[in-house]
């Protein structure tokens, strides 16, 4: 089965990202394919490299990045949602004339078309959020 995963909430405040992560990991372990994980709304905050959670807690952004690396996942942050929330990769930061960037390696920033495309390509699109 080919899954597209949509994450609509940020880390820690809401369970959505944790559940999406656990679902994605479990689906991959069962041999399913995850064509894309698309982060929308506050979900784009899952892609920050500046999160410093307490050491005895899970590191949600790093966990996503590691899972992405282990399975060559396409982790996409919506550009419109990311820009208005101050989530910028190196290229976007330069383009917007900012002096910093904060997207963790393994995520990429792209447009909403990637969400639609994932929905077309996948057998099931699963949304995690409110």
């Amino acid at each position: 089965m080919k899954f597209a995963i949509v994450v609509n909430e940020g880390p820690y405040t809401h369970q959505a990202s944790d559940t999406a992560f656990q679902f994605t990991r479990a689906a991959l372990a069962k041999g399913h394919e995850v064509v894309r994980v698309f982060f929308y709304h506050d979900g784009v905050n899952n892609g920050t490299k500046l999160a410093v959670p307490p050491q005895d807690d899970r590191h949600i952004p790093n966990n996503w990045a590691q899972l992405g690396k282990d399975h060559q996942l396409d982790l996409v942050l919506c550009i419109a949602a990311a820009q208005r929330r101050g989530i910028l990769d190196e290229k976007e930061s330069e383009r917007q004339g900012k002096d910093a960037n904060n997207v963790i390696d393994g995520f990429r920033i792209s447009g909403l078309g990637q969400l639609i495309e994932a929905g077309i390509e996948a057998d099931r699109t699963i949304t995690f959020g409110d």
């Binding site: 078309g113 949304t127 959020g129």
Partner: protein
């Protein structure tokens, strides 16, 4: 629901459940719909629960300092997005009637460009059937 001849066309339904202001979900849902319109899929929108407030006419957001994005719904017809299903029970429960909603139309090129309404009132039971007929549901 019409049958799709083209296997590459999927039925996308955007489910709008939240009020237009207070959270960003409604605005960012509409952004997906407008982008998604370029993909030539079979698109419909559902408005249930507080989502029905998104279609109210004469919205005025001056007092809350947030942009009134409701005029953008009027552009949907030009993008061939013309199936907006509004759940009747959700209107009833909020003391609203179809007259409280914006008039949204589209021009049917197969019918001498006649202007037709985009908003369709459906019962909760019909909404259930519509949801069951979709390939992809994006819920906001």
């Amino acid at each position: 629901m019409q049958q799709q001849a083209d296997a590459n066309v999927k039925r996308f339904m955007y489910v709008n459940r939240k009020a237009p202001y207070g959270t960003i979900y409604a605005l960012e849902s509409l952004e997906v719909v407008l982008i998604g319109a370029a993909f030539d899929q079979d698109v419909s929108l559902a408005f249930i629960d507080d989502g029905v407030f998104q279609l109210l006419k004469d919205q005025d957001t001056n007092a809350i300092g947030v942009k009134n994005f409701s005029p953008a719904f009027k552009a949907l017809g030009d993008y061939d997005v013309n199936k907006l299903f509004v759940e009747k029970e959700s209107l009833d429960e909020r003391g609203l009637t179809p007259d409280d909603l914006m008039e949204l139309t589209w021009e049917d090129e197969d019918d001498d460009w006649e202007e037709k309404p985009s908003i369709h009132l459906v019962s909760r039971h019909e909404m259930k059937t519509l949801l069951g007929n979709q390939d992809v549901i994006l819920s906001f």
